[in-house]
Amino acid sequence: MMRLFVTLAALVAALFIASLLVGPARIGAVEGLRALVMGGDGPVPLVMREIRLPRALLAVMIGLSLGLSGAAMQGYLRNPLAEPGLIGVSGSAALGAVLAIHTGLSAAWAFGLPLAALAGALAGVMLVIALAGPRGSSLTLILAGIAISSMAAALTSLVLNLSSNPFAANEIVFWMMGSLADRSISHVGLALPLMLAGWVLLLPLGRGLDALTLGEDAAASMGVRLSRMRLVLVIGTACVVGAATAVAGAIGFVGLVVPHILRPLVGARPSRLLWASGLGGAVMVLAADLAVRLILPERDLKLGVLTALVGAPLFLHLIYKTRRELP
């Protein structure tokens, strides 16, 4: 277990540094890192500190959040298909964020943006759990997800189409696919408090999620307070997904791919999967964000495009595997 932890942590560190060193502007590794640490005048410290550092930090924070929330939701719903993007939580968060931006709330009060996204995510996650609860089948979960995602996407498009601003309609792509391009340290500041709160809420759920492997009755008889656990899960997920979506749009499939890959490596224990998926999520988002810069450096390729290209086939595979329980 220690080996897995060290490996994942080392991967995060390596990719974090790579993320700092890759970008459309050609900056030497040594020069860049020196400028990052020492500062100074000129464009290089500006690029390193104001553009690349926030981007790499956000990739880690968002990856951690999405991986962690995916593993937590899967543990609670006991279903490997539960993923914030697929079941509409990210979409609902995006709706909240779009409302905050286009009503001027976020301009009046900076934290209005992540909090509105949190409110959106909260509505989404509560709907999913109400519709697909722990006893729900994969079919109910997927259907609930489709309904919530479509609704959130439609309302997001509506808000953007109603805007008098000519740029608004183009933003649909950002909110649906997500991007870390040209984010700033202020975005880190906006997202971090909520994410920290979410991590603190979600990480200790492991013990209860482990017990839930045996079903609700057995878990309850082992002292797990299910209603309290559900509340913590809902709020924790809304915090991390809301904060991530508010600053980077809806990045899908991270919470699906990462737990799926890591589950065999942690002996399928939901508690261990929590932190492992957090680290794994950071690895995946860092890698995907590097890839968008390496594959099409001149275009603003959306991060969610890459995660979906990896995640959608896996999603199909998982549906194929679980189709026996579908009618």
Binding site: D210, D217, A218, G223, G267, P270
Partner: protein, 252 residues
Amino acid sequence: MTLLALDDLSVSLRGRDIFTGVNARVEAGEFVGLIGPNGAGKTTLMRAALGLVAARGHSSLLDHGAAERARLVAWMPQARDIAWPVSVEALVALGRVPHLPVGRPLSARDQAHVDAALSAMGLDDMRRRTATRLSGGEQARVLIARALAQDTPLLMADEPIAGLDPANQISTMQVFAGLAAEGRAVIASLHDLGLAARHCTRLMLMGEGGLVADGPPGDVLTPDNLARVFHVNAWFERTPHGPVFQPLEVIG
């Protein structure tokens, strides 16, 4: 020592009385077989005693908080839920959850309980196998081991031996009887009246909306009770091999 006291316990679900006015005490050293036809409320009675379903009346287990209760009674539900492909050993170790402070790994003492539970259910060779890939009967034994690992004075199990082969049914009943003999108590709902008659120290017969009879197997499995509650007659005799009970035919 009384490990469970039920006073005037009644449960209604959706306006229908499942059972009413159940009074019972279970003492240390007892292996109680909870018997009765389908739908008599055996599962609901145990769940109500554990506080998993709302009930009127009183169950002594509910005098304790959820965490404390988990150290007093272990519960093996009938549904054999194993959500994730964990190893047998990891699954059995979940029984130690109520005893572990948050975030603490298994201590040597916890591991000893896990090992003992695995041995008791004959799972030593299977500890590394993936629980979800086992047969139904094997999974049942793993789940019993999980409940054993919880190491509680009282164990409640819902149809623990359903689906087991004869050898495993008998050895499981012997494990439960052994627990009772060492000063604990076991309450298990059972459909095999023959095994119940042979191994249980006491039977509780559910039917007709409540507890019909409660006492040693010989006092409960009377022709009259069997005819009234189960609609069968049976052959029941004390033999040199112990009590033997065999239902014969459906009556009326």
